[in-house]
């Protein structure tokens, strides 16, 4: 609760910026290589890394209160509930082997 906020040195911003550009290049390059189902994993993994970098440094969450982290984590968690439970229904549709069940 200091009266001024945490000012990050410039090099942090530039390092993150270059990391983001490199990761963008990587994700495009990897997309043209056949990795089977791993293509999706890599694409989403890289996107998640980029998002994390932006959140932690550009959005200063690394230096913010734990409450801020809690808010973000709960947002992601609830998104996972929606995606996960919805797809769980579709994924288990055919298991019974009875059409329409």
């Amino acid at each position: 609760m200091s009266s001024t906020t945490h000012v990050l040195p410039l090099r942090v911003y530039f390092a993150i910026f270059f990391a983001l550009l490199v990761l963008t290049g990587t994700t495009v390059a990897v997309a043209f290589v056949d990795l089977g189902p791993l293509n999706n994993v890599v694409a989403l993994g890289i996107a998640a890394c980029k998002a994390t970098l932006v959140i932690l440094y550009f959005m200063h969450v690394r230096y913010a209160t734990r409450l801020t982290s809690l808010v973000i984590v709960s947002g992601v968690f609830w998104l996972a509930i929606m995606v996960g439970l919805t797809l769980a229904d579709y994924a288990t549709r055919g298991w019974l082997g009875v059409p329409g069940r």
Binding site: L67, G75, W78, M82, A88, D89, T92, R93, W95, L96
Partner: protein
């Protein structure tokens, strides 16, 4: 704030406050004129704006319920035909759910009381609070306009592809109204969360918060996490209807069940948006009128959070017959029953609070006791409906209708009425007639049960919902239900009359007419513009009714002035 730490330690403790010399300046009389209301940023005045507008929609929705019940007194469709009947129950549901129940307690009572209960001058974002009312009003106007042009006939659930491809009624207009109003709900929730985290008075730790605040915190979490999903769902629905692309239409490769997943992801937790604030009200009432702290405060507080979280894991129990996978159905069925645990924790803790309490039978308490009974019935039938086999049997029958009216009318509206009666002296500074208010409470309780209990039996016998006509053998119970609805309607008119009467002719209320504990009773009735004459410092927990009051010699608990974020 720390400058006030030498404030007397017993400040959070009700002392008989001298009647303020008339006239003193409070939030109602410090400015006059329409602009002072429509441009206000005072949470108390915004609460009044909400009170007026939700009452308007309650009246509209109620009027439609009257026609529905009138139609159902005879087996044939003689008052209205199927087409009009479809529009009636649809608009009844939309008005009551989106424009009355969801905003009622949070936006009226929560808006008014949360800043006062935590010792703040206002909500964290006063302008956003006003904005939320305008957004609500604009959404309401869209829906009202749609009503005037004939209304929608899809049911309040808007199931695709009926809503996207088949109906000829103005679905987009109403959908837009709900979309817009959703943002009002989001902004209210956002404001509450930030306010409760950041605006608490010195010494107001999390576990000194009144349970009303806890339940509103949980409600706000649902509003924040659920409402955006209904917004995007409605957007997709509108896009499909306007552009004819098949996101939900099976003809074009879409999946109508996805609509139901999205819809219930919000709309099931929305039930907890309606009931949790009412639970918060009841916790306040039970403590105040038994003169006891709520039994198991921590459990009741965390039960609110548990309901908010678990509420997001259960939505597909509305879809057991929609063709979802049996494995998913079984899991959702089991998860749904988990919600019964925190709900039961609350009910048991309230009843335990009553035990050996010094109970006074004031009007708000009548509503609170009514809530406990009716909510228990509604909740237990909810567990029945969560059971796969029973749900498939009574799905889309009046059993379901009766169940959710026990939760929404018997629970949420009972809580809202109880809260209004409890805080009316604080809000308006006026007292209402005791006798008539008790007559009103009993009439509502009686009318409610006569209206909706027969519907359990009707549903169990197999009467489907959403039909304007029915076989002759269902008539006796339907007439009973309609007769009860008449009593219920009259019951709601009684408070409407004496509340309006009291504003002009009622006796002035003292600061603490119930002798209750809580920061809202520390300030005058009605409160000053910034809620307190001096910024309060809190040294006592909520509901510390007993020991210290009985034995004034007892030393007050260790003073703890800190802000926990």
């Amino acid at each position: 704030m720390t400058a006030h730490s030498d404030f007397p330690a017993h400040s959070a403790f009700p002392e008989p406050i001298e009647e303020a010399p008339e006239p003193y300046e409070h939030y109602l009389n410090h400015k006059y004129g329409l602009a002072s209301w429509l441009l206000t940023r005072d949470h108390k005045r915004i609460a009044i704006l909400y009170l007026i507008s939700v009452s308007f929609f309650f009246l509209l929705g109620g009027a439609m319920a009257v026609i529905i019940r009138l139609e159902l007194t005879t087996p044939e469709g003689d008052l209205v035909q199927a087409d009009i009947y479809n529009r009636l129950f649809t608009m009844h549901g939309i008005m009551m759910i989106f424009f009355f129940l969801i905003p009622s307690i949070p936006s009226v009572l929560g808006n008014f009381l949360i800043p006062i209960m935590i010792g703040a001058k206002d909500l964290a974002f006063p302008k956003i609070n006003l904005l939320s009312w305008y957004i609500y009003a604009i959404g309401g106007l869209f829906t009202f306009y749609a009503l005037l042009t004939g209304g929608v006939d899809t049911g309040w659930t808007f199931y695709a592809p009926l809503s996207t491809g088949y109906t000829n009624t103005p679905v987009v207009l109403v959908a837009l109204g709900i979309f817009i109003t959703g943002f009002s709900s989001i902004l209210t929730g956002l404001n509450f969360i930030v306010t409760i985290h950041r605006m608490r008075a010195p010494g107001m730790t999390w576990f000194r918060l009144p349970l009303f605040v806890w339940s509103h915190y949980a409600t706000s979490v649902i509003m924040i996490l659920g409402t955006p999903v209904i917004a995007i769902t409605i957007l997709l629905l509108g896009a499909e209807r306007i552009f004819g692309v098949g996101i939900f239409d099976p003809k074009l490769g879409g999946d109508p069940v996805l609509f139901q997943h999205f819809f219930w992801f919000y709309s099931h937790p929305a039930v907890y948006i309606m009931i949790l604030p009412a639970m918060g009200v009841v916790s306040e009432l039970i403590a105040a009128f038994t003169r006891k702290p709520v039994f198991g405060y921590h459990f009741v507080a965390f039960a609110s959070i548990a309901i908010a979280v678990l509420g997001f894991f259960v939505w597909a129990h509305h879809m057991f017959v929609a063709g979802i996978s049996v494995y998913a159905a079984a899991i959702f069925s089991a998860l749904s029953m988990l919600v019964a645990i925190p709900s039961a924790v609350k009910v048991f803790n309230w009843t335990t609070t009553l035990y050996k309490g010094s109970i006074s039978w004031d009007t708000p308490m009548l509503y609170a006791l009514g809530f406990i009974g009716l909510f228990t019935i509604g909740g237990l039938t909810g567990v029945m409906l969560a059971t796969l086999g029973i749900d498939i049997h009574v799905h889309d029958t009046y059993f379901v209708v009766a169940h959710f009216h026990y939760i929404m009318v018997g629970g949420a509206i009972m809580g809202y009425m109880g809260g209004l009666h409890y805080w009316w002296p604080k809000i308006t500074g006026k007292l209402y007639p005791k006798f008539w208010s008790k007559v009103g409470a009993l009439t509502i309780f009686l009318g409610f049960n006569v209206t909706f209990f027969p519907q359990f039996i009707l549903g169990y016998l197999g009467m489907p919902r959403r039909y304007h006509a029915y076989p002759n053998e269902f008539q006796v119970l339907n007439v009973m239900s309609s007769a009860g609805a008449t009593v219920l309607g009259l019951g709601y008119l009684i408070p409407a009359v004496y509340f309006i009467w009291s504003m002009r002719y009622g006796k002035d209320a003292s600061a603490n007419p119930w002798g209750a504990i809580g920061l809202e009773w520390e300030t005058t009735s009605p409160p000053p513009v910034e809620n307190f004459d001096k910024p309060p410092v809190v040294t006592w927990g909520a509901y510390e009714y007993h020991e210290s009051r009985v034995q004034p010699s007892l030393p007050p608990p260790k003073q703890e002035v800190m802000r926990v974020t």
